[in-house]
């Protein structure tokens, strides 16, 4: 993409804590859309391609993707302190909000206006995730498997998960394994890049 401003690293564990707290508090109906906005577009901690790759790692591990991703970012920059800061930022303030809503819920649960508002927000939240998916397609352009293979893998995953209703673990295991063999072969065929240069690395990244 032409518009690729330089990446920056988070400044400190407290920067990580507050960044993720701000991110989490904006994430109504799931955090994927706002994570892409905040981490890639606003704070520029990662490129779109890196975000997609790190999300892939977060996806196959147990636990919520976005929390896993935040732990990975915290770990990468500040080790244990960074990971704890990320986890705390992701959970503490939203937990307080959820608790407050639980206490309030009994008083508004039958109110048609409140129910309507939640319904409208739900429809928008679905749109936010779909829009993020559309946006991430661009990040597949440089994929080593090539456009056609990427399209086939994505289509197979979508069919398996949504149309056939297979469990996630089966989709990741079967489609993922075939794709991995393909990518492994393709990486061997292409000239070997520098260490870990599948995506631009954060300059001056401290490695604890």
């Amino acid at each position: 993409m032409a518009d690729s401003p330089p990446l920056v690293a988070p400044r400190s564990p407290s920067d990580i804590f507050w960044s993720f707290a701000v991110l989490a508090l904006q994430g109504f109906g799931g955090v994927a859309a706002v994570a892409q906005r905040e981490i890639v577009e606003r704070r520029r901690w990662m490129s779109r391609e890196e975000f997609l790759e790190e999300w892939a790692v977060a996806q196959v591990l147990p636990g919520p993707n976005i929390v896993n991703l935040s732990i990975m970012i915290g770990q990468r920059h500040f080790g244990v302190r960074g990971a704890v800061a990320a986890l705390g930022g992701m959970l503490l303030l939203p937990l307080a909000v959820v608790l407050a809503m639980t206490l309030l819920y009994a008083t508004v649960q039958d109110h048609p206006v409140a129910r309507g508002a939640l319904r409208g927000m739900g429809a928008v939240a679905a749109g936010l995730i779909l829009g993020t998916a559309l946006k991430m397609i661009v990040a597949l352009q440089g994929n080593v498997m090539g456009r056609a293979a990427c399209a086939i893998v994505a289509l197979a995953g979508f069919l398996g998960f949504t149309v056939l209703g297979l469990p996630l673990i089966v989709v990741l295991g079967v489609v993922g394994a075939v794709a991995m063999a393909w990518a492994y072969r393709a990486l061997g065929a292409s000239p070997p890049p520098a260490q870990g240069a599948t995506a631009p690395q954060v300059p001056g990244k401290p490695s604890p």
């Binding site: 919520p64 990975m72 939203p94 429809a123 993922g176």
Partner: protein, 186 residues
């Protein structure tokens, strides 16, 4: 709930954490069976409301587990137990998966140049995009609405296009959705 009950409660959340590939929602059916059907620590309505509240609230959806812990403790005897339930459930569901993620992240970061690691990331990238589409569609058709379905689909599609093509703040979009819903237009 006795001390043994709490230990069992904690142990079950630790187990669900390690099994929760794809997010904690994937283990929600198992939680329901244990907490509602077997132990009767929660009513069916409390369970469903807990999930709904966490989805309406900002933050990761995993927080529905905190609400379940809170409600189970409240049923067992008041605010102190509720607070205990919240902490036990949240720590239980987060601890194993977070530790595993930490260790894996360190390993992947150290070995990011390996051909197999790079192949894995490149191979998974299109699958992640596919799963985002799947989840978006699943949420879009999640409930039955009183207003015509096309209005909601239009709202979802409009939000998707605005996110894709503009840098409009996401909270504006959610606010518009809330207004349209509250006024009964969708």
């Amino acid at each position: 709930m006795t001390g043994i009950d709490w230990a069992s409660f904690f142990g079950h959340f630790l187990g669900w954490s390690i099994m929760s590939v794809g997010g904690a929602m994937s283990t929600a059916p198992a939680m329901y069976r244990y907490l509602v059907d077997q132990q009767h620590w929660l009513t069916a309505a409390q369970f469903t409301h807990g999930v709904a509240i966490a989805q309406a609230a900002p933050g990761p959806n995993i927080l529905f587990v905190a609400v379940l812990g809170w409600s189970a403790g409240m049923n067992a005897g008041g605010y102190a137990q509720a607070a205990l339930g919240l902490v036990v459930a949240t720590v239980g569901i987060m601890l194993p998966s977070s530790l595993l993620t930490y260790v894996s992240a360190s390993w992947v970061q150290r070995h990011r140049g390996l051909r197999a690691v790079r192949a894995f990331k490149q191979a998974m990238a299109p699958l992640v995009v596919a799963l985002l589409f799947s989840i978006g569609l699943m949420l879009a058709k999640g409930e039955s609405w009183p207003a015509p379905a096309w209005a909601l689909w239009a709202l979802t599609a409009g939000a998707a296009i605005l996110v894709w093509r503009t840098r409009l703040h996401l909270l504006w979009l959610l606010g518009i959705g809330a207004l349209l819903g509250a006024s009964g237009l969708v």
